[in-house]
Amino acid sequence: MSETTMNLTLRVWRQKNAQSAGTFVEYEAKNISVDMSFLEMLDVVNEELTARGEDPIAFDHDCREGICGMCSLTINGKAHGPLEATTTCQLHMRSFKNGDAITVEPWRAKPFPVIKDLVTDRSAFDRIIQVGGFVSVSTGGAPDGNALPIPKTDADAAMDAAQCIGCGACVAACKNASAMLFVAAKVGHLGLLPQGQTERDRRVLHMVAQMDEEGFGNCTNIGSCSAVCPKEIGQDFISRLNRDFLKASLRAK
């Protein structure tokens, strides 16, 4: 056994479809390079499964460079695995030791039903965006670059929130399966910019209503969401969401 490869025991959640009950199945992952990402490791396991004629493990992924928000996985009980500020696709096997046993589960939340194995349906987030996570602008010629001055501190804060890739790790990690951090990031991002002001009240009221409708839990200000967020979106945005919703509620007619 050289230092550049490792053998692992995986305990993976297998579930045929949304209707059936799932269960953990053990797999051996042999000769895994320390330089592989976690998803590449699963690719290797899946190739073996396919070669043996078994059903490969279904998991979500797209960009594999930490920007699309498709990858998920709760690894040893932590959303996106042991590292901070890292998506599962950017997690490398050097973060594990030879001989480790690793438990891999899907995001678990009622609004994120399992479609198959580790793949969950996160369209609840899309519906939240659809009711207000945008600014309405008229199309036409591109506006001048500096026509709309934005203070640097606001632009920076808006960019911090805009980093949210909508992966759902916040929901997965929250003991209440609350979507507060996601909604807070979207509401904060647009509410910090001048373009977002006209629809500010409407946006926050609609997005929170949709969040509640989807069946997410309620925030108890614990902070697990920010701790696992691959983009390190802070609790400050949740406070801001609470403030915005309070003001909008008081003004609501």
């Binding site: 209440n176 399966a177 701790a227 406070s239």
Partner: protein, 228 residues
């Protein structure tokens, strides 16, 4: 009307209800503690204060009704939110770990329920006289008329080490509840910005500790024979 609906039916709105009712109960706990600490000023001070409260119904009853309403709002909302939170994750993780969570934050519902049990016990003890029936019978002369001897009631009550132990343990849990609750209420109302985050967390912990020490000082002083 729309505003009321948003506050009492939405997830965030009900957190405002938790936060505001919790904040007012917190202020009551401080006032209640300061009132009782008059035991250290002597028998006459405490009894005069207690008599003043009892003899001023226009103060006593609005306060009692207000507290009851606040407690009901706080507890009913807490239980509602907690039930919804359980429902939002029907299937638990294999090994549930809660990241970056303080013990006080995780135990908020538990500490709250113990405080609820304690409030019931405390009222049965000193308001309804069901734990030590003789407690409400002591009298003392004040301005020529007999009034309830609250000082003696407290000394007799806390001379029983079992009763004192119950009070001390429950104050510990109230302290735990407030060490998260008081900082959480600022976040829930949207007042906890990064600039004040650490200061608010410290304020919550220190005020919870002061409430613990202040309230515990009374049974401890009585058990040690410093107040008799």
């Amino acid at each position: 009307m729309k505003t009321l609906k948003l506050i009492f039916l939405s997830s965030l709105g009900r957190k405002y209800v938790m936060a505001i009712s919790g904040a007012l109960l917190f202020l009551f706990v401080i006032g209640h503690m300061l009132g009782n600490l008059q035991i250290f000023l002597g028998k006459d001070f405490l009894n005069a204060y207690a008599h003043f409260l009892k003899a001023t119904p226009e103060l006593l009853w609005p306060a009692r009704i207000g507290l009851l309403v606040l407690a009901i709002l706080h507890i009913v909302t807490a239980v509602q939110l907690a039930i919804e939170n359980r429902r939002a994750r029907p299937l638990a993780y294999d090994g549930t770990k809660i990241y970056a969570a303080s013990f006080a934050a995780q135990a908020i519902l538990f500490s709250g329920l113990v405080v609820l049990a304690f409030i019931v016990y405390h009222l049965l003890h000193f308001t309804f006289g069901k734990i030590q029936p003789e407690a409400l019978t002591y009298t003392v002369m004040y301005k020529g008329e007999p009034i309830h001897d609250v000082y003696k009631m407290m000394v007799m009550g806390f001379s029983n080490p079992w009763i004192s132990a119950i009070y001390l343990i429950c104050m510990g849990l109230l302290c735990l509840h407030l060490s998260h609750g008081v900082s959480s209420l600022f976040q829930s109302l949207g007042w906890k910005t990064n600039a004040y985050r650490n200061a608010i967390d410290k304020f919550a912990k220190i005020s919870a500790l002061i409430i613990f020490l202040g309230n515990c000082a009374i049974p401890v002083a009585i058990l040690l024979g410093l107040v008799k």
